[in-house]
């Protein structure tokens, strides 16, 4: 095993010791882990399938039933159990958010490493692409992209379209971050030494650069997740989700379209929003703490003074 990876492992246990003492980080981890658990064990948390219609003794569907009539969160406009919708919705929201986040992370890291390591023209081209993507307003772009791709009759599910579009638009900040990190690592002695003894580019990237930037990628991914989940909820709210596999955003779309506000059905439009805040807040807290602990530059910065107790990432299209 390469020494760098061993180092990485040892760092991991050191890291955990430090992390355990960080209250904000623990809170973030708690929020994220609970939501993942809920999504995983959804069927155990509710007796109803999300598409089940709740009925009264006479067999009639109960629509807009408040929590006092049907617990714990009442029913929606079509007599579905809101709690079941919420719990199963976690699967869709997290799935789309995580997949999109991982795509963004992968593309961003790849481009960041390529640009940072090789420099020159590749660097120039990739950075211009990120420049352009950063400037085009992302929500309108995503809306027309999703709408167009859905029209193309490519036989791919609406959720896949969402994942692809979000993933392929939100890698720019990751790419820039990774690139600048790679730039500094590239100049270090051990890389120069490896190059001097004739190691190939692939070898250097794999054995020397990747282990160094891995922590940064992990932290950044968690932050990207929060954006991806927020963006998914927004697009779904605007009607671009899959109504047959409702995420939290889709639930809110239904609530808004089907007069939940006029009906005073707060149990229908409040919970999905709280769920979204729960997960995104968790990701932001966790991501920030991780970044703070894992990113050597930020740590130095942090020691200078607590100018930002929490660095809030730039507000995305959500």
């Amino acid at each position: 095993m390469n020494e760098n990876w061993t180092l990485f492992k040892r760092n991991l246990s050191d890291f955990w010791k430090a992390f355990r003492r960080n209250r904000l980080g623990l809170a973030g981890a708690f929020l994220v882990i609970t939501s993942i658990l809920v999504a995983t064990f959804a069927p155990l948390l509710t007796p109803h399938a999300p598409s089940d219609i709740i009925r009264d003794e006479g067999g009639h569907g109960l629509t807009f039933a408040p929590p006092s009539v049907h617990g714990p969160l009442g029913t929606d406009d079509a007599g579905h159990d809101v709690w079941s919708q919420l719990v199963y919705g976690a699967r869709i929201s997290l799935m789309v958010g995580f997949m999109a986040g991982f795509i963004a992370m992968f593309v961003g890291s790849l481009f960041g490493i390529l640009a940072g390591y090789f420099g020159g023209r590749i660097d120039n081209l990739l950075m211009r692409i990120t420049d352009i993507l950063l400037v085009i307003p992302d929500l309108p772009l995503m809306l027309i992209l999703v709408a167009t791709i859905r029209q193309l009759d490519l036989k791919i599910s609406p959720l896949t379209v969402l994942i692809a579009v979000i993933g392929l638009l939100y890698w720019t900040s990751t790419a820039r971050l990774i690139r600048s990190q790679v730039l500094t690592i590239k100049e270090r002695q051990f890389v120069a030494r490896a190059r001097a003894i004739g190691a190939g580019h692939g070898h250097i990237i794999r054995k020397h650069i990747l282990p160094q930037i891995m922590p940064l990628i992990v932290a950044n991914t968690v932050l990207i997740l929060s954006t991806a989940i927020l963006v998914e909820s927004g697009l779904a709210f605007l009607g671009l989700g899959d109504p047959t596999q409702p995420s939290w955003g889709t639930m809110l779309n239904f609530a808004f379209d089907r007069s939940a506000i006029t009906n005073g059905a707060w149990w229908f439009y409040l919970p999905p929003g709280f769920a979204i805040v729960w997960v995104t807040l968790g990701c932001v807290l966790l991501g920030n703490v991780l970044e703070e602990m894992l990113n050597p530059r930020l740590t130095a910065h942090h020691l200078e003074g607590d100018q930002n107790m929490i660095a809030v990432p730039a507000k995305g299209a959500e």
Binding site: L152, G234, L238, V312
Partner: protein, 325 residues
């Protein structure tokens, strides 16, 4: 790199970006297999097959997409002609202009309130560092970030309309439409309260953080001692230096934020049925009114690109450091 090269590069990049937007704009809509005429017509029993064909010809959809439609459209755009909206049967540019000012009003008010409150809260938070005020302000900005824009809008809409009797949408009450402006200011204000409030909460956090870190920076520097020695009060020093320091990032943030603001406008205008560009974009999307959608996207994208360039220019002019970098 000197300042001129920097600006030239930024300018070139903006042009390239606009070009990319134009290409995206055209390609996306014209690859669609559906029949836009049918989308506009819907299941309208009054529109016969012949009328549909006539509409198709009117929209130029009977010609091949490439090269005819492509160059036709490009030529029209170059002349500033954005075509005719299919669903509204009016020139796209007229429709856009009629909605533009509503959106500018909403965004403008939201930004002004966000800046005023952000500066004040940031000042307070930085000044009273590590007190309950500071922690509260930071927590607020964090939660404001994590809340989906549209959901915040829905909550405020529900609460505002049922508890305070505020209107649930629109810009003026229908009974006041067309009346002289000065007679309906109270009515317009009533309609603007909720959407403006939502926007303010959304954008408050960032301004607050900038102001706060500016204060902290000033507090840690030496000249505060000098200033104090000169007999200025602690408060005066903060106000004078910190505000000056924070000005540059705040001004550039306004321009840079425009892209995010546009996104916010789409959500907020949808939730509050506010008759601006954001809602127009959303309706054009659902009605598959491509000329309108293209026009709206072009307008939104180009104004954001220009605002970004303006921010760059401003930065170059105001910040001496650009010269060196």
């Amino acid at each position: 790199m000197n300042r001129r090269d920097y600006l030239l590069r930024k300018f070139g990049l903006s042009l390239v970006t606009i070009f990319v937007v134009v290409i995206i704009n055209f390609l996306l809509f014209r690859v669609l297999p559906g029949d836009p005429v049918r989308a506009v017509v819907g299941r309208n029993v009054r529109i016969s097959a012949e009328t549909q064909q006539a509409l198709r010809e009117q929209f130029g959809l009977d010609k091949p997409v490439f090269p005819d439609q492509f160059f036709d459209t490009l030529g029209q755009w170059a002349q500033g002609n954005l075509g005719v909206s299919w669903s509204l049967r009016e020139p796209v540019s007229d429709v856009l202009m009629s909605k533009l000012w509503n959106t500018v009003l909403l965004i403008g008010l939201g930004q002004v309130f966000a800046i005023i409150l952000g500066v004040i809260l940031g000042l307070l938070a930085g000044w009273k560092r590590k007190t309950a005020i500071d922690v509260g302000a930071l927590t607020f900005s964090l939660i404001a970030w994590a809340i989906p824009t549209f959901w915040l809008g829905i909550i405020l809409l529900a609460a505002g309309s049922s508890w305070f009797g505020l209107p649930t949408g629109g810009i003026v009450s229908p009974m006041n439409v067309g009346k002289p402006l000065y007679t309906i200011i109270p009515d317009v204000a009533r309609h603007l309260i909720l959407p403006t409030f939502t926007l303010t909460i959304l954008y408050l956090g960032e301004y607050m953080l900038i102001m706060r870190s500016s204060i902290l920076e000033v507090l840690s520097e030496d000249y505060i001692l000098t200033a104090k020695a000169k007999g200025m009060s602690h408060w005066q020093v903060l106000w004078k230096h910190a505000l000056k320091n924070a000005m540059l990032p705040i001004v550039t943030l306004i321009a840079l934020n425009l892209g995010f603001t546009v996104s916010g406008a789409i959500y907020i205008e949808t939730v509050f049925s506010y008759d601006g560009l954001g809602k127009l974009f959303q309706t054009a999307l659902t009605k598959q009114d491509y000329p309108l959608l293209q026009g709206a996207f072009l307008l939104l994208a180009v104004s954001v690109i220009i605002a970004n360039m303006a921010a760059d220019v401003l930065y170059a002019v105001l910040d001496p450091r650009v010269k060196e970098s």
